[in-house]
């Protein structure tokens, strides 16, 4: 067996009052304790595999109903109801027996997001338990966990945890006497942001280039290896055991209406205590940023916050009080995304920040759809021009005219994702772009987000 890396990290995981009724601790149990991934610890201290035993005594359909009742929405970014997604899976008929798969999306690549990593590091058994429950609910033959290639040490850890579960009889043949065979395999990605998109992930899992597929057929009809497949995020599946333990109705009481449960928010950038905070959905953003993360680390005022990973439109000061859930963020013109908050203070030049984000999308576009492949590159070129003092006033209209030609015109949401930061930066911080064009220098003097040594 490989040695499991036990290097402590410096994230903040907790805050006063965490674990109380107001701030339930459902996903981050034992976070920060490096021994927490062992099966005995999970079983003895964190009610481990209680939910699985309960689920395996229920009818598979009843398990799906329980998840539906909880109102759990997918934590990957789109916020699609998880129970509903599960119910799309075709059932066996007397004439036709299907091979179904459950795929867990652990290709965490969204800039500003580092939540799956924490679950895999400290609580891998909760993910395994969630995958067993999901596998039972949909009567899957196999579960695949797709994890980004950079997380090699987490892959080793998860594989060791899976082996513990196998030894305990929770995976393999005839699990706990139910007559149901199920196992989990870990698949290592190889560094492509696009593989976080579910059909690109399936292509990658099959050993192909990670290019998104044309939908329909949706994965529930034709997914991994041509079989019906459900793809869920790591956090979504890790949220399933608490739902079964406490009951769907009880879980639905946490959070805000139609956005039930807790969610892991990652705070990064200019804050005093960057880290991972599990909060009920609908917690106001300024409570998270000011109270828990300690507010600005530089003493300067906070200028902009990206509320859910790089793809989400930026919010400025007037929206810092937004309750953090899918619907409220959407109403304010942004997105719930993957729950990674990026906090930028007044010293940040928005032109540089936007250029850095667009460069990411230009680099990570798979190149399949022309609007995204060409559009992102053009946005990067134009922003580069503005940043280097060669911009023209009409460039701003050109940029604004590019986004509607990229967004909603591609097979997958990567093109839309690139438009989020671009549009919002132009709308909310247009004066900074104009300043750059007129004065050929940053509005926020001394901002250094770009290195002098070449790009990719």
């Amino acid at each position: 067996m490989v040695a499991i890396r036990t290097k402590p990290d410096h994230h903040t995981y907790t805050f006063p009052g965490f674990g109380s009724e107001k701030f339930p601790n459902l996903l981050l149990r034992g976070a920060g304790d490096l021994n927490n991934w062992h099966l005995p610890v999970y079983e003895q201290q964190h009610e481990g595999y209680v939910a699985m035993r309960k689920a395996l005594q229920m009818e598979p359909v009843a398990v799906t109903e329980e998840v539906k009742a909880s109102g759990l929405r997918g934590r990957g970014g789109a916020g699609f109801p998880a129970g509903l997604k599960w119910s799309f899976m075709p059932k066996d008929t007397p004439e036709r027996k299907l091979t179904r798969y459950l795929v867990c999306n652990g290709d965490e690549g969204e800039p500003g997001t580092f939540k799956d990593r924490v679950i895999l590091e400290y609580n891998p058994h909760q993910l395994i338990e969630g995958m067993i429950i999901g596998g039972w609910a949909m009567q899957c033959a196999m579960g695949y966990v797709y994890i980004r290639g950079e997380f090699l040490w987490l892959i080793e850890k998860l594989e060791a945890a899976i082996q513990q579960a196998r030894d305990a009889g929770y995976l393999g043949k005839n699990i706990l006497g139910t007559g149901w065979d199920y196992d989990i395999l870990v698949y290592r990605g190889a560094g492509a942001y696009i593989c976080g998109e579910e059909t690109a992930l399936l292509n990658s899992l099959e050993g192909r280039r990670g290019e998104p597929r044309v939908k329909p057929p949706f994965p529930a009809a034709k997914g991994a290896f041509g079989q019906p497949t459900t793809v869920n995020n790591v956090e979504t599946l890790a949220a399933v055991p608490p739902i079964l333990r406490m009951g769907g109705g009880e879980y639905a009481k946490i959070g805000s209406p139609k956005n039930s449960g807790t969610r892991i928010f990652g705070v990064s950038g200019h804050v005093k205590r960057p880290g991972i905070y599990e909060l009920p959905m609908g917690t106001p953003m300024n409570f998270l940023v000011e109270e828990l993360a300690g507010g600005s680390s530089t003493g300067r005022k906070i200028k902009a916050i990206i509320p859910g990973g790089a793809s989400c439109p930026m919010l400025d000061e007037k929206d810092f009080d937004v309750p953090m859930d899918f619907d409220n963020l959407k109403a304010r013109g942004s997105m719930g995304g993957s729950g990674g908050l990026i906090v930028m203070d007044e010293s940040v030049c928005i032109v540089q920040a936007t250029l850095r984000l667009i460069r990411f999308y230009a680099h990570e576009s798979c190149g399949q759809c022309t609007p995204c492949r060409e559009g992102c590159n053009w946005m990067q070129l134009i922003l580069n021009r503005i940043e280097h003092g060669q911009g023209r006033m009409e460039d701003l209209d050109l940029l604004a005219s590019l986004t509607p030609r990229i967004g909603m015109r591609t097979l997958c949401p990567l093109g839309d994702a690139a438009c989020g930061p671009m549009d919002s930066a132009l709308q909310k911080f247009r004066h900074e772009f104009e300043h750059h064009i007129i004065h050929k220098t940053c509005y926020a003097q001394g901002s250094k987000l770009l290195s002098s040594v070449g790009a990719h």
């Binding site: 500003g112 990670g210 990206i306 850095r356």
Partner: protein, 191 residues
């Protein structure tokens, strides 16, 4: 920050992959072939072994050369073109030799807000290599600028080979990591 130069056109266009450097090694060891065959048996379709096999090739060959891609195609029994397409799609397969310690510096937004751009400059200065320029003359170092490593909370974040090193805020920590590499405390490239 200037866009990449457009390659010069020539009268004799190169075939795909001909721009890539070649490796001395040409074939897998028997152990590697057995390992790949075991992976092929795990999945409903042998094609799924492409990505894991390329990692094994990278370990054995030092980097994913054309010969490595051919060896993967031959071992799995799939077209060479497919393996070439996959190997060039993913950024974690190094298509050119890298140093014994390959520094991957994240310069995406969360890290950039905490000084990743300056860190990348320091890494280049201390190792004497620039991103994408191949290993240093002594073969010790190479540098790559990468996108988000999911260490946003402890930014800036540097990954050496396959291990993540967090909290690299200052130059001291960088020197510490480089010294540890020199002392052989970290696994060198090729596993």
């Amino acid at each position: 920050m200037n866009p990449a130069p457009i390659p010069e056109t020539s009268n004799e266009p190169l075939a795909p992959g001909q721009r890539l450097p070649e490796s001395e090694r040409k074939a897998f060891s028997p152990e590697a072939i057995a390992e790949i065959q075991a992976i092929m048996a795990q999945y409903p379709d042998k094609l799924a072994a492409t990505l894991p096999a390329l990692y094994i090739a990278q370990r054995e060959f030092g980097f994913v050369s054309l010969a490595a891609m051919r060896a993967v195609a031959e071992t799995i029994g799939i077209p060479e073109g497919h393996v070439f397409g996959v190997a060039t799609f993913y950024t974690m397969y190094q298509k050119a030799p890298v140093g014994k310690f390959h520094f991957q510096v994240c310069t995406n937004i969360s890290c950039a807000l905490r000084g990743a751009a300056q860190l990348l400059e320091k890494v280049c200065e201390r190792t004497g290599v620039k991103p994408g320029q191949g290993p240093s003359p002594d073969g010790m170092w190479s540098v790559e600028e990468v996108e988000c490593l999911a260490g946003c909370g402890v930014a800036p974040c540097v990954q050496v080979n396959q291990d993540v090193y967090d909290e690299l805020v200052d130059e001291d920590k960088l020197v510490e990591v480089m010294e540890a590499c020199k002392r052989g405390e970290y696994r060198p490239w090729g596993y």
